[in-house]
């Protein structure tokens, strides 16, 4: 293959050059490349059957989570994510806690039709050490109805049941 590199070509004598074009050398090189490539292992991922490994920082749909030990809701209804969201896709309704200290969620909706997966909602989330809202690794979002893309609090916490691929 190195024979046809342009650097090698420039120094070639006219006779070599003529021979090269008469013998259609470049066409043969092309054939050799395709012949060789046939035996390379494929790089296709047969998607529903196999999936690629996601990197830890992969940004799937934003979701809410519980505290990993106590199992309580982490969200303190501060409305920061709603404020920062550039697509205006987060909608939060909150109320004062009965004991008068802080607020709690009444409803929390993310409209996935509008979400651009930018992850800006995660940055201002004040809960420590885990943010209440986070970019999950879910990406299988297809649905038949528009309503299916407005995720209520329950869906945000539990996630969407992944559909099994059947052969």
């Amino acid at each position: 293959v190195t024979v046809v590199r342009s650097a090698a070509r420039r120094g070639a004598s006219p006779i070599v050059e003529a021979l090269r074009s008469i013998l259609l050398l470049e066409l043969w090189v092309g054939l050799w490349v395709t012949l060789k490539n046939q035996f390379r292992p494929h790089i296709t991922v047969e998607y529903p059957k196999e999936t690629v490994e996601l990197s830890p920082r992969f940004r799937g749909v934003p979701r809410l989570r519980f505290h990993p030990e106590t199992g309580e809701e982490l969200c303190i209804a501060c409305h920061l994510c709603e404020t920062v969201c550039p697509d205006d896709c987060i909608h939060i309704v909150s109320e004062k806690k009965p004991d008068g200290k802080g607020k709690r969620l009444v409803s929390f909706e993310i409209n996935y039709e509008r979400c651009c997966f930018c992850g800006l909602c995660v940055d201002p989330c004040p809960t420590k050490p885990l943010t209440a809202i986070y970019m999950s690794h879910d990406y299988e979002m297809a649905d038949y109805k528009r309503e299916g893309f407005v995720a209520p609090l329950r869906t945000l916490l539990d996630g969407i049941e992944p559909k099994e691929y059947k052969e």
Binding site: L31, T34, L35, N37, H42
Partner: protein, 406 residues
């Protein structure tokens, strides 16, 4: 005419015609799968895999789809010609199969002599050229009657291209006909047996001219300007759907098979084994036996290579091991191979092997080369191939003359 002659000369050829017309479309269904597979592998893809094991039922699914699809005719199309065009394209393509011999010696079935070809015309090659050029009419009619710009342009390109390349196509075969002293396909192969070598050796220039022109004649990559999907949607068959489209498709692939067969017959000794006169290689007559381990070994190595991701090496190892085993079996005369010669099987094996190779070359070209521009196409045809093939005829004639006069 007595009954035996009637059966041998009428009934058997008709049966052969029926078999050919029934078998070739089936072969083409799978040829198309093989094409998609090989193209996929060349592009490091997987190719069809969903329908059946490794996509083995994909052709069936395609056929069902084409057969059941709605057959639309454009509102302003010429309905009669629109329907006629696919028939006119496919009929000559299938008719060309008549003079292709797949083996050398007639065999006997229930006491009747069956020849492994449908008919042996003494003008076989000329017949092939004539019939294959009739296919252009179908393409022009189809393109014109669709009443669509794309179809029309595709048909125009196609007619110009096929008319230009018909000339070197014919000239390239004249050298072979001169050497063989006959235009009959069977006699050409027999002449190659008598001369002791395949005509690829004395006619290598003719072979190149023929094969390049043939690729252009069948409208395949890199000469697929008539359908040029990036420019003309689909060229002359843009407006066709369903079964009519399938007929165009069938014609294209039948033409590929016919062309590969002509190359095999004219330049690669048809049903002959390699080196047909070297006695020491007579075991190649049983090529289908010793080559079976080679193919199996290669296939196993290829599978292992895909599984392990080891690139070419497992394939080479598999081919080597299979080949060694095959050579061993054949050379050591295991199973009494030397006495077990079946000319029909041997002929069919070598013929199929060679034809398959050229069909692979077609696909290989498709996976490798970009399309020619229209003026480049005409330049290649008129400025290179025609002078080259005419020169080949002259040189062949001179050499023959010099060898005859002492």
């Amino acid at each position: 005419m007595d009954q035996k002659a009637l059966i041998e000369q009428v009934v058997i050829p008709i049966a052969q015609v029926v078999v050919a017309v029934a078998v070739v479309p089936l072969v083409i269904l799978y040829l198309q799968l093989v094409e998609r597979k090989i193209l996929g592998f060349m592009q490091v893809r997987l190719a069809p895999r969903r329908v059946g094991w490794h996509g083995l039922l994909q052709p069936v699914a395609d056929a069902v789809k084409l057969l059941t699809k709605e057959d639309t005719i454009p509102a302003k199309a010429d309905r009669f010609l629109f329907t006629l065009a696919p028939i006119v394209t496919v009929a000559p393509a299938l008719a060309a199969l008549a003079v292709i011999p797949i083996a050398g010696t007639p065999f006997h079935l229930f006491g009747y002599e069956v020849r492994p070809w449908i008919t042996d015309l003494n003008i076989g090659i000329v017949y092939l050229l004539a019939v294959s050029s009739l296919g252009i009419y179908g393409i022009i009619l189809g393109g014109w009657s669709s009443n669509s710009k794309y179809s029309m342009l595709g048909a125009l390109r196609s007619s110009a291209q096929m008319i230009s390349y018909e000339v070197p196509l014919g000239f390239a075969l004249i050298g072979v006909m001169m050497l063989a002293g006959s235009a009959s396909t069977v006699r050409i192969v027999e002449a190659q047996q008598a001369s002791g070598w395949w005509y690829i050796l004395p006619q290598i220039v003719g072979f190149f001219c023929y094969f390049i022109s043939a690729v252009a004649e069948t409208n395949r990559v890199p000469f697929d300007l008539p359908e040029a999907e990036s420019e003309l949607v689909a060229g002359f068959h843009t407006e066709y759907s369903g079964m009519k489209f399938a007929l165009f498709f069938l014609a294209e692939y039948t033409n590929m098979i016919v062309v590969s067969s002509i190359v095999t017959i004219a330049f690669f000794g048809g049903w002959l084994r390699p080196f047909p006169n070297v006695e020491g290689l007579a075991w190649l007559e049983n090529g289908w036996v010793p080559l079976a381990p080679l193919v199996l070994g290669g296939f196993a190595g290829w599978l292992a290579g895909r599984r392990l991701g080891g690139g070419l090496n497992p394939l080479i190892v598999g081919l080597l091991l299979g080949g060694l085993l095959g050579f061993g079996i054949a050379a050591a005369d295991v199973f009494g191979l030397a006495s077990m010669r079946v000319p029909l099987l041997s002929g069919a094996f070598w013929f199929t092997l060679k034809v398959s190779f050229f069909l692979f070359v077609y696909i290989w070209f498709r996976g490798t080369y970009p399309r020619y521009r229209y003026d480049q196409l005409m330049q290649l045809g008129w400025k290179w191939l025609i002078p080259l093939s005419v020169g080949n005829v002259i040189v062949t004639g001179l050499v023959m003359l010099l060898r005859e006069t002492p």
